[in-house]
Assembly symmetry: C2
Homo-oligomer: 521 residues x 2
């Protein structure tokens, strides 16, 4: 089979590469190989690719990041209550908890990525240590919601800090273990002269957070406000230290850093972030969010046979019609999340390198995506043409708009450094440039349009919203055609302005075709 | 960075391979390339690797497969009620629904794998069609629970059959679309002479199910029992037709099949199943199951401040102590699921080819894993030393046992055809053979041991169970040591019997080291 052929070819080259790597590391570090005991060397053969461990970790973390949307989604709105008030009530606690959890879990995830960019191979021991670390990460949302419910009680802070401290200890053990078996490390560190420097640098960065949490947990007994300040500093520490360094550099002149230390744990906005893991994490979040509503439907919306007999005279169809809006909300949210995933997928297909800043924007986009099912559920919960319904629809539009605009922002950021981060096809003047722009701006534009239309034609808000839901998938199907028609129209209007630009694009086609084919496999 | 270096090398070879493939397909099917219109050829450049689409589909399907365990897990046990009775009540409906949903969703998943082993590249249109298909798959569990709650009503059958029929139509459209753009297909079909034969064969297999569902939906109005019979036939159709064919072959002698038709859609037990996708699906299920309890804890176990003030005199710690068993259940189930994932991961690291039968055993193992959180929750819900508690603990042991034994069964099945399916290290006489056996049999043995111990020492059942939970992770950490000690002991006991066998294993070490290193990257 062609597929198997392909993978065989790849595997074959991987084997070659590994052999090369093995011999190289053998030559470079024969001194250490001689120093390890035979049993350690046997351990060497027990090493494994870390790929699947990371995929599993990504799946766990993406579930945990989105879990705190459930308490928000399960808050039932009362019809006689004003939406504005209940939304404000939600905003103050549950949504804040959700957003903060999302932020904190993605910070932990970024730390995990950083760690496993240094450690590229694992063995059984590291796999088990990583599972212990995952268990603590999955417990973080709960400690966080305790903190939000009892902000003045020390227990929430203590539990949170305890988890972070134990995680720090486990991560340090992982680092020490990996540096004691250098064949587990990134090749660059493996052959580097100053391995010890790396070890100390990484340990220093890792232990910074648990030490601050240790102080925060002590202050939680004495003066809990200070604990929160410390925890806030922990999260924004890299940004703060970065901007301080930047200010210092501006003030006293550029200080040259050692090129070696620049590679790992730099916290620079253009520090590379594993593209595979960003994709895996995003896939996890999109998948959970797309199915959130069906989970509820499966559990709650199967009517009891006795109820059907009593209230609906045995008519199952009549009983299910009560749940009609919920099905509609499910299909609407699944379609919207699915299409946002589709846009994300198209974008990352053309991204060749992911940076830290792009990862941050991606996190923001995903945080809004997580709120989508809630928004969709709201749109169908209120009586037709009520003010609540209008506001729920407008909130949905705002959430879709922000989810889409942050995806667009990723692209814009990537364009600033397009030589490094983007495939030639979608760079300025590339043949897919305008098509990609259209794909990325479709949802923000449609959401904005729907928002303003519902402001003007508030009576038909529900119809406009449903029409939007139905037309958008078809718009994506015929988008290539639409873009071509749009370009033709633009050329008609501004005909003498830029005929040459179009020609350049056309000429560029054949040259760039082969690399694109190679990229997408 | 070494990691990036590695991926660059792979990418480089992928590029080469793609170029080769492109030129080859160009040469082989230049006639079709000439026949397509320019706009179609432009569409060619819009093709994408299907990798991420499949990963996202796997994530969605794994969530949906496990979702029906939620209604089971949320059924609260009454303390004064006998566990046996309530479990029987559960068994009849909710657990049956869960198991059947798991089975049906995995059947749909297997069909999806089969389809995308034929179609190896996608474009925007296929991606959108696939999303529509996913939306229908995620709706299946709900239709199924409707069927279980109202078995005599036609609506459940009708909805289920409707979904399956629409899915069949979408899949047929996907096949027709892909065959009209042959560059999307598997290379083997792409260069094959009898493409049309393939197309008809695949369409025939795909449409078989919707057509039977069409008849089932008609019979649901007239004679619903027949509908269920038809639906059962649909699921077991491949097995039935296979065994019929086998019987016929035995009776009238071996009939030679065309080798071409053997490659895809054969439904033979040793039909290859994409290993990546089996891993991705399993990862999804393990991740969801590991976090099921924390989802509940995050939503339900944050006490209300007013309740804490009133019932516990403002003592948050006292209020949280009520939830103590739930935290214990969470950590226990997370650890067990995590370690079962670890065993699965170790096994599939040494599996080189996944067959359909192995996939089936994997599905059974995963179905039991899905029940674990429920079992763990039960163990902590009953008063200490009650008969219910004992039974809950024994049910947990049984579930762990079956989850582990099916993993072991995968290995045993793989050993039957070890030349094709297993890496030399874990074959008979390989250096990791005994270690792998120990890893795979640890959980079944411990579960069985705990089960019988709790039968004898029923008074200490809870302590025995907790001890088991705590020791197993450490047992995995020192397993390599334990196996070595065990082997040494065995050699001591049977000293003159097999000294040569050990020597062979030792000698085999150096020869097999390089391929193993290559495999694990």
């Amino acid at each position: 089979m062609g597929e198997n052929d392909g993978s065989e070819i790849i595997e074959h080259h991987v084997e070659e590469e590994m052999e090369k790597k093995c011999t190289r590391s053998h030559a470079a570090s024969s001194s250490f190989l001689e120093s390890v005991s035979p049993s350690d060397r046997e351990g060497h053969s027990g090493t494994q690719s870390s790929h699947r461990l990371l995929a599993y970790s990504d799946a766990l973390i993406s579930i945990i990041a989105t879990v705190m949307i459930l308490p928000v989604a399960h808050t039932k709105m009362e019809n006689n209550e004003e939406l504005r008030e209940s939304v404000q009530l939600l905003l103050t606690t549950k949504i804040a908890v959700y957003l903060m959890t999302f932020l904190i879990v993605t910070v932990a995830w970024a730390a995990h990525i950083r760690l496993f960019q240094v450690i590229v191979r694992i063995d059984d021991c590291l796999a088990l240590l990583n599972l212990a670390c995952m268990m603590l990460i999955t417990f973080l949302p709960y400690t966080f919601s305790l903190m939000a419910t009892f902000p003045e009680h020390f227990l929430g802070i203590l539990l949170f800090c305890g988890c972070v401290m134990v995680m720090g200890v486990i991560q340090s053990v992982i680092v020490l273990y990996a540096f004691s078996r250098p064949f587990l490390l990134n090749e660059q560190i493996q052959i580097s002269e100053n391995q010890t420097y790396y070890k100390h640098h990484i340990l220093k960065v890792i232990m910074r957070v648990p030490i601050m949490c240790f102080f925060a947990s002590i202050f939680s007994f004495i003066f809990f406000q200070l604990s929160y300040v410390l925890l806030a500093i922990v999260i924004f520490l890299p940004y703060i230290s970065r901007s301080l360094k930047w200010c210092r550099n501006k003030a006293i002149g550029q200080v040259e850093e050692t090129p070696d230390s620049m590679l790992f744990y730099t916290y620079l906005p253009n520090e590379p972030l594993s593209k595979d893991r960003v994709e895996a994490f995003s896939d996890g979040v999109y998948a959970i969010v797309a199915t959130l509503l069906i989970l509820d439907i499966c559990e709650d919306n199967v009517p009891d046979p006795t109820v059907v007999q009593k209230q609906f005279g045995g008519s199952l169809i009549a009983a299910l019609q009560v749940y009609g809006p919920e099905y509609l909300a499910y299909f609407g949210s699944f379609a919207t999340v699915g299409l946002l995933w589709f846009v994300h997928h198209s974008l990352f297909l053309h991204v060749t390198k992911t940076t830290r800043f792009m990862g941050l924007l991606n996190t923001f986009s995903l945080a809004f995506v997580g709120g989508l099912p809630l928004a969709y559920q709201l749109t169908h919960e209120f009586p037709h043409n009520s003010r609540n319904e209008l506001e729920a629809i407008q909130i949905s539009c705002v959430i879709i708009f922000f989810a889409g605009i942050f995806q667009l922002a990723i692209w814009v950021v990537a364009l600033y450094n397009e030589q490094e981060t983007l495939h030639p096809y979608v760079r300025y003047g590339g043949r897919e440039h305008i098509f990609m722009l259209a794909k990325l701006s479709l949802y923000p534009c449609v959401a904005l349009g729907t928002f303003f239309l519902t402001c003007i034609l508030s009576k038909f808000s529900a119809s406009i919203f449903h029409l939007m839901e139905i037309t958008v998938p078809f718009a994506f199907l015929v988008l290539r055609l639409l873009v071509r028609v749009g370009l033709a129209l633009l050329r008609l209007v501004f005909c003498p302005d830029r005929p040459d630009h179009r020609v350049i694009v056309e000429e560029g086609d054949d040259e760039t075709r082969v690399p694109f084919n190679a990229l997408v496999t």
